[in-house]
Amino acid sequence: STIVLIFEAPKDFNFHLKPGQKIRFGEALGSL
């Protein structure tokens, strides 16, 4: 299964991620 987030945010929103990385519930996805 898959979860897709689509959202609007200001231009300076940043993801703290790398493609292919494992992630766990509660960990940071991104922020301004």
């Binding site: 299964s1 898959t2 979860i3 897709v4 987030l5 689509i6 959202f7 609007e8 945010a9 200001p10 231009k11 929103f13 993801f15 703290h16 991620l17 790398k18 493609p19 292919g20 990385q21 494992k22 992630i23 766990r24 519930f25 509660g26 960990e27 940071a28 996805l29 991104g30 922020s31 301004l32």
Partner: protein, 325 residues
Amino acid sequence: LHTAPVVRTFRLRPFHFLVATGGGYAGYRQYEKYKEEQLEKMGIEIPIKLASKWEVSLYKSVPTRLLSRAWGRLNQVELPTWLRKPVYSLYIWTFGVNMKEAAVEDLHHYRNLSEFFRRKLKPQSRPVCCYHSVISPSDGKILNFGQVKNCEVEQVKGVTYSLESFLGPCTSTEDVQFSQTSSCNSFQNQLVTKEGNELYHCVIYLAPGDYHCFHSPTDWRVSHRRHFPGSLMSVNPGVARWIKELFCHNERVVLTGDWKHGFFSLTAVGATNVGSIRIYFDRDLHTNSPCYSKGSYNDFSFITNNNKEGIPMRKGEHLGEFNLG
């Protein structure tokens, strides 16, 4: 064959035909994969090979929903106590499940594989990050993330799907998130409610051994649910690289609403072994039902006369779960 009655000959042929074509196709795919590995070793960039229309149609013709429901029925059968430990241990070993994080570690506690699949975690095993505005709603693997451009969302690098097909157009007037639009760009512009904002996306793939509940990724209010019945093709990264628009073919539940910066949506996409999606505050939602009409969807608004706000969700709050079957 010469002596067999005509009926038996014909009865044997379809079976042989299926085995021959299936085996031939599997062999062809293996050879293709071997060739790609050789090219990769030589450092040659391999162009993404997308499935052709007939391959997608062939895959979609597989009764994945029926298989998924049968798989779910099987996993609801209560296991005798002596069988639980070996069965779940095999599942734990196969999919690398970490039972130390489970709220209940005793395998005999789970009456069947469905219950085991829906296991909860110890609260302290997943601390919710309080510094960042958006957290991961679930365990999993990041398939892709970034800005949405030209109304196309990348399911994996280089393979996209249409935002409008994925979220669907609007038929209701009160729902500002969706509205009939002439071109896709104005569809994307309709979603962005504040000047200077952009649209972002993130795709998280949950593997079979992962914790399969999901939580609210931020503080937001859910105002609308749209359920798209559909196929239940596999969504593992290999298939997501092969079938364009995969997430628009599959059964999915789109929750839309708003957060402090405007539009926000979370979509749970089903797959073959995980055909059912449950949203805890949405009792009217029924997924993976036997019959549905292609391309249909059903809407539900959480905004009513005495609840203008929709459903408030705190960051990290329990939101829903995927179930087997």
